[in-house]
């Protein structure tokens, strides 16, 4: 019998919160591991995929995976405290058990991106899925051309993974461009500008051999995509990971449908070509 027929995809597996710490006022970082060690080490996933995380009694919600599959064992998530599930998650201590199921979604098309330049454009919580892709590219550095990180946050204290990304500035195989919209304390060591202003540092790229990956608040997409299109990157090489209310993660419950596609199985990674051809996507 087909394996997926025997299994019941609605039932989560127990997993343990190994470590947690705050990334900003309302965003917390969680390292989670399947209780079943074999499962923890054997789970395969792609950057850009997500998992359904559940807290018994509070419910279940989808979260992008922030860790990279090139470092197996631990799954990492950044979570903003904003609803019932996340409030319950924030109350949990290290060593608590949660339920997880997945991975779901298409993820980034690594096979296509490999061998090309990669421009990663992050706005705010967009770091959650894109950190996975960035770390994957850095762990497999030889498989990629030039790699750029264009990162925007409102203020230095809103920036997720601040120390980690600031350290990346030391690397000479990554163009790490970090900016904040405002710098109230005046000690921010990088750019103070909108993320779109960072494109002037992206020079002399062979656009035909370049992929871009974008994730941020809905308002950011329009302006960032304008820049990428102006740069000359083909529409189908501009990748974005999108958000929708999701419930089942397996293309049944209907919440995340956009046109005839389901964000949970056909996405959440879509190309700009998809976006221009499918209404309501962003």
């Amino acid at each position: 019998m087909n394996k997926s027929n025997e299994e019941n995809p609605f039932v989560p597996e127990p997993a343990r919160i190994v470590r947690k710490y705050d990334l900003s006022d309302d965003v917390r970082f969680f390292q989670i591991r399947f209780v079943d060690m074999e499962k923890a080490l054997s789970m395969r996933y792609l950057p850009g995929q997500f998992m359904m995380l559940s807290i018994a009694g509070a419910g279940e919600a989808p979260f992008s995976i922030s860790s990279t599959p090139s470092r197996p064992g631990l799954l990492e998530f950044c979570v903003r405290e904003v609803g019932e599930v996340t409030r319950a998650l924030f109350r949990l201590k290290e060593n608590s058990i949660v339920g997880i199921r997945g991975p779901y979604g298409n993820g980034f098309p690594l096979d296509k991106i490999k061998g090309n330049n990669l421009i990663i454009v992050v706005g705010g919580l967009g770091a959650a899925p894109l950190r996975s892709l960035l770390l994957y590219a850095l762990d497999n550095r030889d498989n990629f051309g030039n790699v750029y990180l264009l990162h925007g946050a409102r203020t230095p204290s809103d920036m997720l993974f601040k120390e980690e990304f600031l350290e990346l500035k030391e690397r000479d195989d990554l163009q790490c461009l970090l900016s904040v919209d405002k710098d109230p304390t005046g000690d921010w060591p990088c750019y103070v500008a909108k993320v779109t202003k960072l494109f002037k540092y992206v020079k002399n790229v062979n656009v035909a051999k370049t992929y871009a990956a974008v994730c941020g608040p809905p308002v950011m997409y329009k302006f960032v995509i304008e820049k990428l299109v102006k740069l000359g990157i083909p529409k189908h090489q501009i990748l974005m990971t999108l958000e929708r209310r999701m419930k089942c993660g397996i293309g049944k419950c209907g919440h995340c449908v956009v046109g005839h596609t389901y964000t949970c199985i056909d996405g959440p990674v879509f190309t700009y070509w998809d976006v221009t051809n499918m209404r309501e996507l962003i």
Binding site: F10, G83, K252
Partner: protein
């Protein structure tokens, strides 16, 4: 295929014999509402209305509220699991006696979505164990509609008051008897069961059935041709016609709750104390604004216009794209239940006319 007949007086015997092997569901009227109920020892005969019930039998396979699993002290148990954690409830076989052809067709459509083995189209690769466990080996006795309602339009959708899609046996009311025609292998097998109160049909019975069917079909209104409706909708996304269609919609969702092919659901947790509770799934509807509202507050379908467009597009465009048929069987329940008299047939006509205007302008 051979035809048989059963005396109406002997229906109870047939149903009694079914209950030995199946959980049997029959149409029953209570408080003026007809719906399907499970036969218990004291229950009566099915209410045969010669048209579809008020509530569709969808809930037999896809209950309005269903426990996905229970949890206790961090331990998760799918309900009534005998051996493995992957069992879902109800491995008992289900028989439905007296469903209408439109509703039976809806089972086949939902089979495609939920990933039944025999009818796999695009089901995202994930199979829904709860639906499949109930559907597997289910036996469906369809009763054709001698008197379709004025709201019925199954004939627009490749259906009719006596179509067989999804049925195991089709019954036709021919007066004192039902003509019984097996129309699947399961149906053929069942008819061989020893001691059934049935006999071979005579030529005159078959002729009578054919007359009854013709009469029933003639009472339906002339079908509107919707073969190019999907393609028409492809061009209508930005059309102002959606304002016109949606302006009176109250977003009450009665249409989708009573729709035999609507399947959207929500997943929620119900607490029963601190460490105990269950995760349930409940019917949901794209007509509610909360259906798409994200935690951040962003809502991709903020007004009834977008939601109405979604429902119509889903049934007549996306469903065709993904599952190969219209997501509507023409049962007419949405027309009967709408508090503001929205008529999906008028919506279809409006859409068709918009398309005509455009092609005339070219």
């Amino acid at each position: 295929m051979a035809a048989f007949k059963i005396k109406k007086k002997r229906l109870k015997e047939l149903i009694d014999s079914l209950t030995k092997e199946y959980r049997v569901f029959i149409p029953v009227e209570s408080d003026g509402v007809s719906s399907f109920k499970e036969v218990t020892s004291d229950s009566h005969l099915p209410t045969i209305n010669s048209h579809n019930t008020d509530r569709p039998p969808k809930e037999i396979f896809f209950p309005q509220t269903e426990t996905l699993f229970t949890y206790k002290e961090g331990k998760i148990s799918p309900p009534e699991q005998p051996n493995t954690k992957y069992r879902t409830p109800n491995t008992d076989k289900i028989a439905i006696f007296g469903a209408s052809p439109c509703d039976v067709k809806s089972f086949s459509l939902l089979d495609r979505l939920f990933g039944m083995e025999r009818n796999v189209a695009k089901c995202s690769g994930y199979k829904d164990a709860y639906w499949i466990n109930r559907r597997t080996n289910a036996l469906i006795f369809t009763i054709g509609c001698n008197y379709p309602l004025s709201t019925c339009f199954c004939n627009w959708l490749n259906g009719g008051p006596f179509t067989k899609e999804g049925s195991d046996l089709l019954l036709t009311d021919i007066g004192e008897d039902f003509l019984v025609e097996p129309c699947s292998q399961n149906g053929e097998e069942f008819i061989k069961t020893k001691g059934l109160p049935i006999q071979k049909a005579a030529k005159v019975d078959i002729k009578r059935a054919s007359t009854v069917r013709k009469e029933a079909e003639s009472t339906l209104s002339e079908p509107v041709d919707i073969t190019s409706l999907k393609e028409g909708l492809d061009t209508l996304w930005d059309n102002p016609v959606w304002n016109e269609i949606a302006y009176k919609c109250l977003s009450c969702a009665a249409c989708s709750y009573l729709c035999p092919t609507c399947y959207c659901f929500d997943i929620q947790d119900e607490r029963a104390g601190n460490a105990r509770g269950k995760r349930i799934r409940v019917w949901d509807s794209c007509m509610f604004s909360l259906f798409t509202k994200e935690a951040s507050g962003h809502n991709p379908r903020p007004s009834s216009k977008e939601r109405m467009r979604q429902r119509i597009m889903h049934k007549f465009n996306y469903f065709v794209e993904n599952l190969g048929d219209f997501g509507c069987v023409g049962c007419g329940r949405c027309i009967r239940s709408c508090p503001v008299n929205m008529d999906i047939r008028e919506v279809i006509n409006t859409i068709k006319n918009v398309k005509l205007t455009i092609s005339n302008e070219k």
